[in-house]
Subunit: 136 residues, 4 copies
């Protein structure tokens, strides 16, 4: 059985999009994790703020790491995100994924995204994963 | 009053993330649009398939273009996406955004994502936007 | 193998809450269905309009019937609903459930809710079900 | 300015569906509340468990009370619920609504539903409300 850190290192080595996002792993435990990244110019949308897909992708990577850390390969099935406050270039943001439930087949997680400088959340993400029978 | 195409051209010129995704606009009308993109290696996750954030970002751009095409600046508030089938490198995908409702303040859209080679959807996205009083 | 109608009749006989809602089944096919009900006084909330839970329950029953009609017992895992227009007492409403995808384990459905007198939707529902290995 | 308790009492007096559900208000503060109810036979579905609409309605009432407690009339726009564990007749359940964000126009809340006898959640609800300019 691999440790949560080993599993996430294995995932990150091939996760080219999380690499592009510049994700840093601050913490990883079974069922939870904490990530950090910085909003760059190529992440902005036509309003001059971070594209909704950036915040989503950040939270979805957190979901992926938290849910796969148990050792079973898990894929996200259904996710939702509420965008609360806009982000701009250079904002440093943190994602915290927490497991709300853990059954054999289905897992539910929430991910809170906030600026490193302010505990108020900028986005709230909820994700449901399907746990396959494949092992990392 | 600008045309939907003018508005989307203005948005795209500053939408650096949609540019990075390589979005092509196949069609744009008031309240709807159709986009195309190709999955590239830097868009993959640790499972070797397209990161969920890529499909989401693609659908969210479609939501942004469709909802802003009326002329009022609109921002997505709440969105959800069901991931149905995995995508791999080189897959060409299409997003079709349709307006389900249109009130003064709140708009609801669905976006279907499917491969150019197969009408079966790979992801289903639902988005709610808040229409500001600012005009493009 | 039981027909979709047989399965839904079996479900309805024990579905006391759908009975309380006063659901009428207008149509049932493999993977889809169409239901009707009327908003009653005991379904209203503190704003004097139909409680959000009424529209949700109506759509969720439609999801249940459509997804179980294949013969495998299926339970809803994750659902979302956008409330677009308020409903009042005596409104006659219709729910149409459509299957967007059908895999072995996971099914995705959308349900549109509208008044019998107006094709504009009042609510848009998306649901994900998990198909168990139990058969009706 | 009315107190949160006054507002919820005014809402409950006309909220016939929450009365039918048998909601008891355990706690109400600005932006949050805690409710209790018991699953009755007429709340069951064709699987013999609580209809998904019951848990949703319970959580949606909690959202309504928590979001209206600020004094502005607020209506739910977009909500999602993850159903995690089934409930049966006689189960006593608790809903806790928490405000995740509070802006002038849009509010985001999560509601956790669990049995009185077990802190593990049976459902996780996320809701977005639109705050009107009308005052209770």
């Amino acid at each position: 059985m691999h440790s949560p850190k080993d599993i996430v290192d294995t995932m990150m080595a091939k996760d080219y999009f999380s690499q592009w996002l510049g994700l840093q792993i601050l913490e990883i435990k079974k069922g939870s994790c904490k990530l950090q990244m910085t909003v760059r110019k190529e992440m902005l949308n036509g309003h001059g703020t971070a594209h909704g897909g950036i915040t989503y992708s950040f939270a979805d990577s957190a979901l992926g790491f938290a849910s796969n850390s148990h050792g079973q390969k898990s894929v996200s099935v259904e996710t939702s995100i509420s965008h609360i406050k806009p982000l701009v270039e250079h904002d440093i943001i943190i994602a915290e994924a927490i497991e709300e439930s853990c059954s054999n087949k289905i897992g539910i997680y929430t991910v809170k995204v906030y600026k490193a400088s302010d505990p108020c959340i900028v986005a709230l993400f909820k994700g449901t994963v399907y746990r396959t029978s494949k092992i990392w």
